[in-house]
Symmetry: C2
Subunit: 488 residues, 2 copies
Amino acid sequence: MAKEITKRDENYSKWYNEIIQRAELAEHSAVRGCMVIKPTGFAVWEAMKAELDRMFKETGHVNAYFPLFIPKSFLSKEAEHVEGFATECAVVTHHRLMVDPNGKGMVVDPSARLEEELIVRPTSETIIWNTYKDWITSYRDLPLLINQWANVVRWELRTRMFLRTAEFLWQEGHTAHATQEEAEDEAKMILDIYAKFAEEYMAMPVVKGVKTANERFAGALETYTIEALMQDGKALQSGTSHFLGQNFAKAFEVKYMTKENKEEYVWATSWGVSTRLMGGLIMTHSDDAGLVLPPKLAPTQVVIIPIPKPNEEIDAVAFKIMADLKAKGVSVKYDQDTTKRPGFKFAEHEMKGIPVRLGIGKRDLEKGVVEVARRDTKEKSSQPVEGIEDYIVNLLDEIQKNLFNRALAYRTAHTTEVDTWDEFKSVLEEKGGFISAHWDGTTETELKIKELTKASIRCIALDRKEEKGKCVLTGNPSEGRVLFAKAY
Amino acid sequence: MAKEITKRDENYSKWYNEIIQRAELAEHSAVRGCMVIKPTGFAVWEAMKAELDRMFKETGHVNAYFPLFIPKSFLSKEAEHVEGFATECAVVTHHRLMVDPNGKGMVVDPSARLEEELIVRPTSETIIWNTYKDWITSYRDLPLLINQWANVVRWELRTRMFLRTAEFLWQEGHTAHATQEEAEDEAKMILDIYAKFAEEYMAMPVVKGVKTANERFAGALETYTIEALMQDGKALQSGTSHFLGQNFAKAFEVKYMTKENKEEYVWATSWGVSTRLMGGLIMTHSDDAGLVLPPKLAPTQVVIIPIPKPNEEIDAVAFKIMADLKAKGVSVKYDQDTTKRPGFKFAEHEMKGIPVRLGIGKRDLEKGVVEVARRDTKEKSSQPVEGIEDYIVNLLDEIQKNLFNRALAYRTAHTTEVDTWDEFKSVLEEKGGFISAHWDGTTETELKIKELTKASIRCIALDRKEEKGKCVLTGNPSEGRVLFAKAY
């Protein structure tokens, strides 16, 4: 039997890395800060992509593709934007290698220096708004609702698989609108899509909220966010949607003619989720036996294991069940490997997070039953072969719900209202999770709290109740509670 | 009415660019050599991707993702490989910008120089084989059948939309096998997939063949290719599949333990098709009225136009037809724009290559008919509203076949067997197309012919007939005919 992994309460961060390794989701590459997403991990990302893409298209968005490179001068056109990204840019300066005249392999050809350096896109607002300038002239060209699936690079010094890597995969939506209201509505509508996807597909409960000025995207007037809570009590910003006002339209001179023949600047949004969601998925559900995947995103939903090994009779039942499951849209694999024993296979498929395991043994078959084990609760039961496909379809649905409810219960138990500074500190250290507390609305206090405790304001929840109070640190008047947490 | 485009026989290259512009497929970006793929063009690429991805998965391949960056030293490990790509590498040398101390915006921070330069991948053999080193230890790990959808960069000096751009999108398969035979079979099987995709989906006939030593991929022992013929008589290399032997396994020390416990180097293939296929698709079918798309890859297969404009009665029929078509898996749009006249719309949808146009007018409806126009032949006919959805499903199928047959007829008419050098030159100049001629098998003669005529050997067709002869240039003995053409 393979070695067990580190337990969550021993070392959460080590546990996370071991899950990724043992479930074969990803690994570090030879390039600092960049990862290799392995086939098992990529299949989950593909499932996420497919669903998100469907949701974007359903709401009128179309996909396009813009260049990987951004001229340095473009990045500088929106002042806050460049400030936000300048320190983490991968810069292309040359376009050719040559044989080292000193005979030591290949070197950069100094004569092939670019006139203007190119930045590998950290995000594409600038190159896209420079393009929109030519696409938008009249109100008839609006709204422009475009999304792009792409790789981006942010040169992070401290990286963490899926959560923070130098290169990552994401989608970035960039929309242009005639009015402020329409752009704001778009930013909020996308937030709703993100929340729906997180909760219904990832089974990951999220708080929808708005960021404080200090935590806004570089160049945005308002940043909406979905925030999730991981099992170690730390928050994960899981997707953001930005109302950009007219900042980029002004930086790139994008104007349109209104119906009334007046020239106006265009209103903008941008929004994105990334492979970071993979980290959230892993940390929300997995346990000390390995990865746990919600059925809706599991590339393989059911694995069938012959006990102790395949034979004609077991094969016949297995193939019949597979065909019936496939007909119902369930993805299923039959593990016919004869070099591994069932116990080893059980542990292996548990590690990989396959939602349902079916064991088919000779003695069970005599009774007309098979063994069904669910990954989320690890419960096992005997179920009649007859009608097993319907039982499994229901079970997958139940597992999906159970994972969400379990995560929601965890979050509810780990969201604490506090009213004093001492309580704030002790809850943060002893219990973790979200702390709902009053804040005086100043960046100064926000930064002070972060400096003292490492907790940041994750968001001002969109559905927070009306309640005035006193700031937990300064005692100054507060307009309402905000959510604090330590975060990834 | 919008301006007509340049005709093919006036200026083929201008015609091509105008189609791309007017059908809104793509445009040049602000970054030299990089294009923006616009929503209409990207939707076609998505349709191509979806089908190819399905074909790869059906044959046991899985997707993964490897880093965008390749350490310079990796590229140098396979000698021929680096030689092939060194002169067109985008090189990342720094990882930070800073405010110009002289106050002129942002400059590269000289203190953020990378220890080792990173190359933006021109292709991923090296980074992938460096990874496979850790994934392969035993025959049980083989075959490894991995594909990646990615962007790559080759710093081309002369670029052409879709056909040759500095950045392009592609898939690259990289497989590892225990034996030479298995790797060779894989390379050929992929060639079959490419050919099937080109012919059945793109309706673009291709010749399957093998490249001469001179035209091989840098680092391959054998390069298989599909070659198509464009309407200007030039060939387009449309997809290649490489048998790499043990070159990369040796460069990156990738060995495996055989069943007999012997250590052996692994055998490799790599293969790819790219957004270049979009160029082939456009040039194979389009005409002087604009883009022509084969129904299987057309994002919108049918457009319905109310004549002269929408009203209650027309709308009712249109919505009924739309619902019936959608139920049969046909994608359809109803053009309800009241600001444009039918004639303008006809020209517009023709330009965009929508395979079938339905015109619904009051007078026609009184007779229970609608007007059906097919884009490929421009034929129009009146068809009963009753059962129109079945008529259209058949028509789409017929258009798909007709496009293929038309392109095949063109290729047949433009493939000429020649036996003398004078004939070679005159056919090449006056008629163009593929020239089937004897060649003495030497790189010297191949290069001489290219120098004299700009025609290259496109491939040695896999199904060429057995026929010895004399080289069309040197008169030396030849083992068989090969296909020459000028090429993109």
